[in-house]
């Protein structure tokens, strides 16, 4: 919300520097996002805690001046010459402002015009350039006349974008006074928290400043005496649903004439971000900004006419089926059955609390105004705003719950302002339908309550003092304060909620800064740890150590995206009702599908890619409200097996065994036992290069080389892509809590090689199992170092060469023992696999 400093000063004395004001507001929950200077000097650089923008007016150069005569320009129709007095001397100033044309050639003006005058050398905004561009006034000749100074528009002085004409100040502006002293201002851009709608107005902010600085709040006063005849009998109100419309108040202003509002009113409205229209509309907007109560002005004569010449009856009700209304913005709107309307006997007049209808709106011809102030159910207003996609200053406020008390205050002040600026008189009395009076809770809070929540000791008196600054009515009873909520706020609950609300107000006014910081003194809770998180972080560390990059992908995807990999139909997904786009409309079921997309994007950036992701997939469960979210681990690698460098090249490509090695290393680090890789047919993978990974009988996951058909669906280059997906919960289940270590032997090992000739079909796993079963405990390692196929060993055979390590932990093995082990291994291989041993 835009808050002009000058306006605040109507209600509270402000004698602190602007940065300090911004600071105390911000630290009280009224965050100042920016301060835009409109004339006032910039604060010194050291105190630069807030963003200050805008323009300062040089008090020597930019001043209030008087135009005594507007004369035609000898050489240009669109220019005029002003005989101007700046308080020191008379000057002829040239201007092209259209709003001065009417005064041209009238001779000496009966009512001289007061204007903002910028002398030579003034720094102002360039009126002819878009946006705000600073320029310095220099002497120039325009169509033969010297020009060195200027009568300014609002745009040139940074007040608004208005550049149609020059500012014409109110008549009482004293010529010669520096303009900054007359109307220099600063606009605070304050963000209003959802529970602080009471502060979406000048009086609200001023009340906070008064509370924070200890100055008194000066509420707006009314001085105009209402006159006979009274409003009584001139309008009636019928509220059909009091829960939707707890209060409806109208007042009447007679014989008004819509004029331009006084310049200072227009200027304030503009600074606050609203457009001045005429003195009637302006008065409703002004009071809304002043008090926070949106008002609505009806042309009373139109209402009488609609009522067939009788006194109008205002009815508030929800819309009829199919009912339509053309709102002020010219849009014909189909209304929902919950939308509340303000109507008369002839039909709908306005959407309650949101926007007026076109027909009954005040116009230039309006002479009598029925002014509405009301209170609406904020939830209902929210629904209408959402459904009609229609927002307004009024709806913004009503949707956040305005106190019904303000309806009456608003109408009274609105009539005052209206008559003050538009002439006419206020009819005595109001028509006030208030079927559901607001309940302002009384909250009891003890000193102990305050201490228990805030950790500071305040006496009941201190608590009451703080709350009274915000107009709570406090009664102290021993150590307890009973505080009655002031009749302008709707954010204070009852009972324990009300207590929390008051604790917040106390802490806010006391100052968060003033509450000392301390460390948690309460007992440490039972320590439970988080095995899932710990395990997954371990997985991440191991995989990073194995050279893989962690990625995190979108968990939102689409069935089509995943179908590239999954190629399954009718897979149940968690669908979004309101996806941001069609390609992110479900929760993923596969990590690998997203990972392949990431690989695709990176494939040309690096010679090798190796990545993993750990995260949930989302599986709908028919009998449950929420899906299962098992965590998966996906790994994929492709490209060069070894880094190339400037002096070495190695063209080997990553293949199945590289990923298998990574998985083996991972499982070994986790001490998962009895790991096996079993050939598997799986739709993602090459039928001959795919394995299920098992620990005992538990399937941990599947790895394989991407099936060529699937790989073709992605742009993944020429190297094979090897990938796998695991369920981390299963890994955790089979991972032992602890493991035993082997004794590190102090005795020398016996090393020897053995070459085993077996049938081509014999899996390596079986050869190794046979070697170990023959070798017994003393065989501690068997490493395959070569596979040979060739004539020497015959067709359909392969020779697998292993280097064997025999070692005992308690002695040096003898040659005899070593040859016995060897014999046993050979026998076992022969028996199990019909193997032959190649002679060395």
């Amino acid at each position: 919300m835009k808050v002009p400093l000058s306006w605040l000063k109507d209600y509270v004395e402000i004698d602190i520097p602007l940065p300090q004001l911004a600071r105390i507001l911000t630290m009280a929950g009224l965050e100042v996002e920016e301060v835009r200077l409109v004339g006032l000097p910039f604060p010194s650089q050291e105190q630069h805690e807030f963003k200050f923008t805008g323009i300062s007016w040089d008090p020597q150069k930019i001043i209030v001046a008087r135009i005594d005569e507007v004369m035609p320009h000898p050489n240009a129709d669109r220019l005029v010459l002003c005989r101007l007095n700046d308080g020191a001397e008379e000057i002829i100033v040239l201007t092209g402002a259209p709003n001065l044309y009417p005064y041209k050639g009238q001779g000496k003006l009966e009512n001289p015009l007061k204007v903002a005058y910028a002398r030579e050398g003034s720094q102002i905004y360039d009126g002819h350039q878009p946006g705000q561009v600073l320029t310095t006034l220099k002497r120039a000749k325009i169509r033969g006349i010297d020009s060195f100074s200027m009568v300014c528009s609002e745009k040139e002085l940074g007040i608004s974008d208005e550049h149609e004409g020059v500012i014409i100040l109110d008549d009482d502006a004293p010529e010669g006074m520096p303009l900054v002293d007359y109307m220099g201002d600063a606009v605070f851009e304050i963000s209003i928290l959802p529970n602080m709608i009471r502060n979406a107005c000048m009086v609200g902010i001023a009340r906070e400043i008064a509370a924070l600085t200890g100055k008194p709040l000066r509420k707006p006063k009314r001085t105009i005496q209402p006159v006979h005849p009274s409003i009584e009998g001139l309008a009636t109100i019928k509220i059909l649903d009091t829960s939707l419309n707890p209060r409806f108040v109208v007042g009447l202003a007679r014989n008004v004439s819509p004029n331009p509002s006084p310049y200072q009113v227009q200027r304030r409205l503009r600074l606050a971000g609203m457009r001045p229209i005429n003195s009637i509309v302006d008065s409703t907007n002004y009071v809304m900004l002043e008090l926070g109560e949106p008002l609505h002005a009806f042309d009373y004569d139109v209402l009488v006419q609609r009522a067939g010449g009788k006194a109008p009856t205002i009815i508030t009700r929800t819309a009829h089926p199919g009912e339509k209304l053309t709102t002020l913005d010219g849009v014909e709107r189909s209304l929902d059955d919950f939308t509340v309307l303000v109507c008369d006997t002839a039909g709908a007049l306005s959407i309650a609390g949101v926007m007026g209808g076109l027909e009954s709106e005040v116009t230039e011809k309006t002479r009598n105004v029925l002014l509405e102030g009301a209170s609406w159910n904020f939830i209902n207003i929210r629904q209408t705003v959402a459904s009609q996609r229609l927002n307004s200053e009024a709806a913004y406020r009503f949707a956040r719950n305005i106190h019904p008390n303000l309806a009456k205050e608003g109408v009274q002040l609105g009539l005052e302002r209206m008559v003050c600026w538009s002439g006419g008189e206020i009819a005595e009395g109001l028509v006030d339908a208030y079927p559901q009076p607001a309940f302002d809770p009384v909250i009891s809070l003890s000193e102990a309550d305050v201490q228990r929540h805030l950790g500071i000791k305040l006496t009941a008196r201190q608590v009451a003092d703080l709350l009274e600054r915000l107009e709570f009515e406090c009664r102290i009873e021993e150590d307890t304060v009973h505080a009655k909520t002031p009749p302008h706020r709707t954010d204070i609950g009852e009972g324990m909620i009300g207590q929390a609300d008051l604790i917040e107000e106390i802490s806010r006014l006391y100052g968060f800064d003033n509450i000392p910081a301390s460390r948690l003194a309460v007992e440490l809770p039972p320590q439970r740890g988080n095995p899932v998180q710990e395990m997954e972080d371990r997985l991440r560390d191991i995989l990073v150590g194995l050279g893989l990059q962690e990625i995190i992908t979108y968990r939102l995807t689409s069935p089509e995206r995943e179908a590239r990999l999954l190629a399954l139909e009718d897979v149940p997904y968690i669908y979004l009702q309101n996806p941001i786009s069609a390609d992110r409309n479900v929760m993923r079921r596969s990590l690998l599908a997203s990972m392949l997309e990431v690989m695709e994007q990176n494939i040309r950036l690096r010679e090798r890619l190796a990545m993993f992701e750990i995260g949930p997939v989302f599986i709908p469960q028919p009998d449950q409200l929420l899906p299962a979210e098992p965590h998966h681990l996906a790994i994929a690698i492709t490209g060069k097996a070894h880094p190339t460098s400037w002096d070495r090249s190695n063209s080997a490509r990553l293949d199945f065994f590289d990923l298998k090695g990574i998985v083996e290393a991972l499982l070994e680090t986790l001490h998962i036992k009895n790991v096996r890789f079993q050939p598997l047919a799986h739709p993602y993978y090459h039928p001959g290069k795919c394995a299920q990974v098992l620990s005992g009988e538990n399937s941990l996951g599947v790895i394989g080389e991407l099936h060529p058909v699937i790989k073709k669906r992605y742009d993944l280059g020429t190297s094979p892509v090897i990938a796998g997906e695991f369920e981390t919960g299963v890994l955790r289940a089979v991972m032992p809590d602890r493991h035993d270590t082997r004794t590190v032997s102090a005795f020398p090992p016996v090393l020897e090689d053995i070459a085993v000739i077996v049938d081509e079909e014999t899996p390596a796993e079986k050869v190794l199992a046979s070697i170990f079963s023959g070798g017994g405990k003393l065989l501690i390692e068997a490493q395959l170092f070569d596979i040979y196929r060739g004539e020497q060993i015959g067709p359909g055979k392969k020779s697998m060469a292993y280097s064997l390590t025999y070692q005992a932990t308690d002695r040096t093995l003898t040659d005899k023992e070593a040859s016995q082990i060897r014999e046993r291994i050979i026998r076992r291989l022969e028996q199990d696999l019909g193997a032959r041993i190649r002679s060395q």
């Binding site: 807030f50 963003k51 805030l454 990073v544 939102l556 979004l576 009702q577 994007q601």
Partner: protein
């Protein structure tokens, strides 16, 4: 001249010649040739020894002694020269083997943790040391847990603060914050005191742009116990900020509004880019907003199964991606899930 004098003179000459010729030796081969010429079996000094018999008996010791000295002098010269030669050869070889150390190293392929994980871990570590443990809950949530139990009944104005992804199933949505985990952890642990952090992915219905994302990590902090005060809440968060952003970081706690906390606050730290002077990172304010926080609202405590008359607590929420963005001046939030290797490799 006696025989002895003659030999002594000869010895002197032998020594002079030997030392003189050594000077001309260039390399190992030359040195070995010189050695056999001057110290070999037929070397002049050796021949002197065989001629000792020519000298009268009483003068033999003198000549013998002298011959030994000459031999030793030649040997010493040889050793010294050999050492010098070896040293020179070594220096030569070292000079020859010199490499250009500015040529690129051969980096092994190595992996890295995603930047979000790295930031999450810093947060975990700091809170772990303060006794806060990790509690996880699901991404897909119910409206009840995400809003209602957090003191936001249907149509509550505060719901506007979150743009929500709804699933096609009534009342099921993607969590907009990790706060639903607050209720889950409270219901699981009540009436034990609680100190947890709740990390997890959250979702907001927003157009993806350089500044906003549809998914983001959040870490929620929750402490519940008997007599936890605002003062302790403030102290704990300041301790965290100092660990996370540096011992001397200036913090401020500014009143704010969240439906599930009261009093509510935003914690700001002094902008570490400009030191509080105001820059485009802190949008001229000198402060960076790092977390929303507050004392747990009594309704939330009650919904979690704790009696608000007895228990109090505090909660805070922060965004690891935002923290990462600020620390590393990342210009576009979309980098996080785009996983461009050129981005990831910078962490």
């Amino acid at each position: 001249m006696t025989e002895a004098q003659g030999l002594l003179q000869e010895l002197q000459q032998i020594q002079n010649t030997a030392l003189e010729t050594l000077k001309a030796v260039q390399d190992e081969t030359g040195l070995q040739a010189w050695r056999s010429a001057n110290l070999g079996r037929n070397a002049p000094v050796m021949r002197i020894f065989s001629r000792l018999g020519e000298v009268p008996k009483e003068e033999r010791p003198l000549v013998g002694q002298q011959a030994n000295q000459v031999k030793q002098a030649i040997e010493t010269a040889y050793n010294e020269y050999e050492t010098r030669l070896h040293e020179a050869a070594l220096q030569n070889s070292l000079a020859r083997d010199r490499i250009d150390v500015t040529l690129p190293g051969r980096q092994p392929y190595h992996g890295r943790l995603h930047p979000s994980t790295q930031t999450l871990r810093r947060i975990y570590h700091i809170f772990a040391e303060m006794g806060f443990q990790i509690y996880l809950s699901s991404d897909v949530e119910t409206d009840e847990y995400n809003f209602e139990l957090l003191n936001m009944p249907a149509h509550h104005p505060a719901r506007d603060m979150w743009d929500t992804f709804h699933t096609t199933r009534e009342g099921v949505l993607l969590r907009t914050h990790t706060s639903p985990g607050q209720i889950r952890v409270m219901r699981e642990y009540a009436p034990d005191p609680i100190r947890v952090i709740l990390p997890g992915m959250c979702y907001r219905y927003e157009q993806i742009s350089a500044r906003s994302e549809i998914q983001f990590n959040q870490v929620e902090v929750l402490a519940v116990g008997r007599g936890i005060t605002f003062s302790e809440f403030k102290g704990t968060l300041i301790d965290f900020a100092r660990r996370m952003y540096g011992e001397n970081v200036r913090t401020r706690l500014r009143p704010s509004y969240f439906p599930f906390t009261e009093p509510s606050a935003e914690m700001d730290i002094e902008c570490f880019v400009c030191g509080g002077k105001g820059c485009n990172i802190c949008k001229g304010s000198g402060w960076l907003e790092i977390m929303g926080c507050g004392m747990v609202h009594p309704v939330v405590l009650q919904n979690g199964g704790y009696d608000p008359a007895e228990f109090t607590g505090f909660a805070a929420g922060m965004g690891p991606e935002r923290i990462t963005i600020l620390r590393h001046r990342i210009e576009d939030i979309r980098h996080f899930w785009a996983n461009d290797i050129r981005f990831l490799e910078q962490f």
